[in-house]
């Protein structure tokens, strides 16, 4: 099987995150491999391992689009177990919205399928920076592939993928033929950590760098010029500050109700 896993290098949510510049894009200092993509990578590794792993010709390709630093998300994916890495990078990509991102990623996936077909594109349920969940669906639409999104369990058998999805009011099982675009939730598995052996092995794995020219995309189709939305203003919300803190002396429940009454919340 040939699986492409989309991995994104995102600002670490443990620190304050900032928007800056004319397009109000996120600062990418202190970035990490998006935690939500680790579930997609783990799902890919499990599918490959169940089929005999790399020795049996199974490939898990970690694909990241982004500036130079994004290579770190790929390196981490290789340490965790991906077989090869692909870094799509070009200055013209900066500031791409979901539509432009999905255009570039669709072209990259087609490029990776040129020699032998890609069976599955796996992604996280959302990026932890943009949080729109738009890219998997847009990628599926652009590639003309079935989308199986928010999978909380996944089975691939005989050219078909089936998955379970949990919504508020119902759960459902869905089925599609391969190739397909699949996004997974954080309920699907427990991602593994890179171990020492993995870290050493990663040093010998290859990372291919692709430019827009390599995948046949014109710079006007991506970045600010290729995006269909524009952020015109961004304002930092004043951080929340602590209010009144009391220690329970046996009557805190009543004080809580007094507070709610004063706030007209009862």
């Amino acid at each position: 099987m040939k699986i492409v896993v989309l991995v994104k290098h995102v600002p670490d949510a443990q620190f304050d995150r900032h928007l800056s510049g004319e397009g109000h894009t996120t600062d990418r200092d202190e970035s990490i491999l998006s935690e939500l993509d680790e579930y997609a990578l783990e799902a890919a590794l499990q599918l490959a391992e169940a089929r005999g792993g790399a020795k049996a010709g199974n490939k898990v390709i970690a694909l990241s689009m982004g500036p130079a630093g994004a290579v770190n998300a790929i390196k981490k994916s290789l340490q965790i177990g991906a077989t090869e890495g692909v870094h799509l990078t070009d200055t013209a990509l900066a500031g791409s919205d979901a539509a432009a991102t999905s255009l570039a990623l669709a072209a990259a996936v087609r490029h990776l399928g040129a020699d032998s077909p890609v069976d599955l594109v796996l992604t996280g349920m959302a990026s932890t920076d943009g949080e729109t969940s738009l890219v998997p669906a847009q990628l599926a639409e652009r590639l003309g592939l079935p989308q199986v999104t928010f999978a909380s369990s996944l089975d691939v058998d005989g050219g078909r993928v089936s998955a379970r999805r949990d919504a508020d009011t119902h759960s459902e099982t869905v089925e599609a033929s391969l190739p397909a675009v699949v996004s997974v939730t954080d309920q699907i598995n427990e991602p593994r950590y890179p171990n020492f052996k993995g870290i050493i092995a990663a040093k010998r794995k290859s990372i291919t760098t692709l430019s827009l020219a390599d995948i046949g995309v014109d710079s006007s189709q991506v970045g600010h010029s290729g995006s269909w939305t524009r952020v015109t203003a961004a304002e930092e919300r004043p951080p929340r500050t602590a209010g009144t803190i009391i220690t329970d002396e046996g009557d805190a429940g009543i004080k809580l109700v007094d507070f709610l009454a004063a706030q007209k919340l009862l």
């Binding site: 928007l19 079935p146 009011t169 599609a176 004080k255 507070f259």
Partner: protein, 317 residues
């Protein structure tokens, strides 16, 4: 020609409040058409008229619900073409956002999600990076697709109600070819409490509940609130995953969020820090949740919550 199109998926017997909100916003942007998938009862058709819909478009196919998202987006794209809509409004559910996503590609239209306000010219407002920024965004394309969060406006019927004309639109035949098929669906039991994402008040519990959601549920019921949870509580199986608030759960913006036995990790804060008022009950004074609480109680939730519940019942008489 209508210039705003509202998508309503399976309205059932009565329109949800969030649908009425979309119709109210649509009227502030121009003449409204509605695309409805699924049954259209007389009551719902009447309400659509009362809310100013001039036209109701329905798909020729009845099986759109058998597939995941793609055919609904294809149908909606066909309606947008036919109606000449320049703005399409959808609900901000996971499915609503994905229909918006695919519709955007089909129409070469910019998509903005998680919208909390729309100006008359289609400019959208939202909050990003876990509520730390509010942004203003606009599509640069001829058509704009917006998914709008619930509780952004008060629903208001039109001053001059009408009777919408019904038009059937062919759902493109190829739309189901490359779509995932839904092979089974199980309904979950309804709790009777308000829906977590739309609720005015949320009472949420975490690992500190130690398996017993009773005190949280009782306080929630006294307040008419929805019940939320931290991931530690849902992972432990004490409550269903749907109740999870946070980065990988639901984002809520209620008037009041009561956090009990939750430490306030960044991923939990990401889902609740735009609440108007935050109350925290935690026995550890060092818990990060106290950094953002308007009213914090350092104490044992098993003492504080039942006492508050009793007091509310007493005052409500």
């Amino acid at each position: 020609m209508a210039n705003v199109l509202v998508f309503i998926d399976n309205p059932g017997q009565a329109l949800k409040k969030s649908s009425l909100e979309l119709l109210t916003i649509a009227r502030s942007l121009g003449e409204t058409a509605v695309a409805v998938n699924g049954e259209l009862s007389d009551d719902v058709a009447g309400t659509l008229g009362a809310y100013g819909a001039a036209t109701v478009f329905r798909p020729s196919a009845a099986d759109l619900d058998d597939y995941l998202v793609a055919p609904k987006a294809a149908f909606l794209a066909a309606v947008a073409d036919k109606s000449g809509a320049t703005t399409v409004l959808l609900e901000n559910s996971p499915e609503g956002k994905e229909i918006a996503a695919r519709l955007g590609i089909r129409l070469s239209a910019g998509v903005i999600t998680d919208v909390v306000a729309v100006d008359a010219d289609g400019t959208a407002h939202k909050s990003v990076l876990a509520g730390s920024y509010t942004t203003t965004a606009k599509a640069t394309t001829a058509v704009t697709v917006l998914s709008v969060k619930a509780n952004t406006v008060d629903p208001e019927p039109a001053t001059a109600p009408g009777t919408p004309e019904t038009v059937t639109v062919d759902a493109p035949a190829d739309a189901t070819a490359a779509a995932a098929r839904i092979t089974s669906r199980e309904q979950k039991v309804a709790s009777g409490r308000p829906d977590l994402t739309d609720a005015r008040i949320v009472v949420a519990g975490g690992r500190g509940l130690d398996g017993d959601f009773g005190p949280v549920e009782e306080l929630a019921d006294a307040l008419g609130a929805a019940v939320g949870a931290s991931r530690a509580a849902t992972d432990a199986g004490w409550i269903s995953h749907d109740a999870q608030v946070g980065q990988t759960g639901k984002t809520v913006s209620p008037q009041l969020y009561i956090s009990a036995g939750i430490s306030g990790a960044i991923q939990q804060k990401a889902g609740m820090q735009t609440a108007k008022v935050i109350v925290a009950v935690n026995k550890d004074a060092e818990s990060p949740v106290f950094e953002i609480a308007d009213f914090g109680i350092v104490g044992d939730l098993f003492q504080v919550l039942p006492q508050a519940t009793e007091e509310i019942k007493k005052r409500k008489g």
